[in-house]
């Protein structure tokens, strides 16, 4: 019973999406790895991708800009934490504010599993703390608060309007 409650609790603040694509795993992995592919699908329908910069290696940074149909730009930034071809990509993710400040950091883990020629993609995103923050309790919590304040200060990203 405690376990059920715990699982329910997790769901309320972590995002988990599972999706099967009718394409081989090597291809699904590949379209995550370079700007030429990401330009074509990154962001919701009718959004364009004016810029994707990515240094696709562990420790490498990325910065991509998506533009809404109304012409508003949204900037995503982060760092690749782990790359295991063709199984897994782990990266940090934040929205960047208008003055270049970094919003609350989340950690994204994308897993690719082969399912008889198709590919099951598992996407997990959760609020994330840096190691420094985790190791320093007092500073850590205020650090999280600062990042959240910065994130929220840049406006409501909810509708991506």
């Amino acid at each position: 019973m405690a376990q059920a409650a715990s699982a329910r609790d997790e769901e309320t603040f972590e995002l988990l999406i599972t999706r099967v694509f009718d394409a081989p795993r090597s291809l699904v992995f590949r379209v995550w790895t370079s700007p030429e592919h990401l330009y074509r699908w990154w962001g919701p329908k009718d959004f364009t991708t004016p810029s994707v910069k990515m240094d696709f290696r562990p420790g490498g940074a990325y910065r991509s800009v998506i533009r809404s149909p109304k012409g508003v730009d949204h900037v995503m930034i982060g760092t690749y934490r782990e790359i295991v071809e063709p199984e897994r990509i782990v990266f940090t993710f934040s929205w960047e504010g208008e003055e270049g400040e970094r919003g609350m950091e989340t950690l994204v883990t994308v897993t690719f599993a082969d399912e008889g020629g198709k590919t099951k993609l598992t996407f997990h995103q959760a609020p994330f703390q840096t190691v420094e923050n985790r190791d320093s309790h007092v500073e850590g919590w205020s650090g999280v608060m600062d990042r959240l304040a910065a994130y929220l200060a840049v406006g409501n990203h909810a509708g991506l309007e």
Partner: protein, 115 residues
Amino acid sequence: MSTDRLSATFAALADPTRRAILARLALGEASVSELAEPFDMSLPAVSKHLKVLENAGLITRGREAQWRPCKLEAAPLRDIAGWVETYRRFWEASFDRLDEYLKEVQKGEGNGPSS
């Protein structure tokens, strides 16, 4: 939703002990010592965690001086769920496009291995 409250909620949830405390309270009210039981932790340490949860509005505490039972408050968690939901919409929409793009690419490359 108040942005301050969302911030406080995220900060409060950024700790596994506090998440475990909330999971326990999802089953019903509990005293501080009951909450401390599963953890290798002093009562003051647990009280500190409870203070954070209380400030975030995630729990309320009874008024009785001796036994101040802790009670889960669900509203801030619902706010978080709303925040997560915006991300879900964002990614789902991207994956719709990814699905189309993969079809396109495979048409271009032809079927079967090229070697």
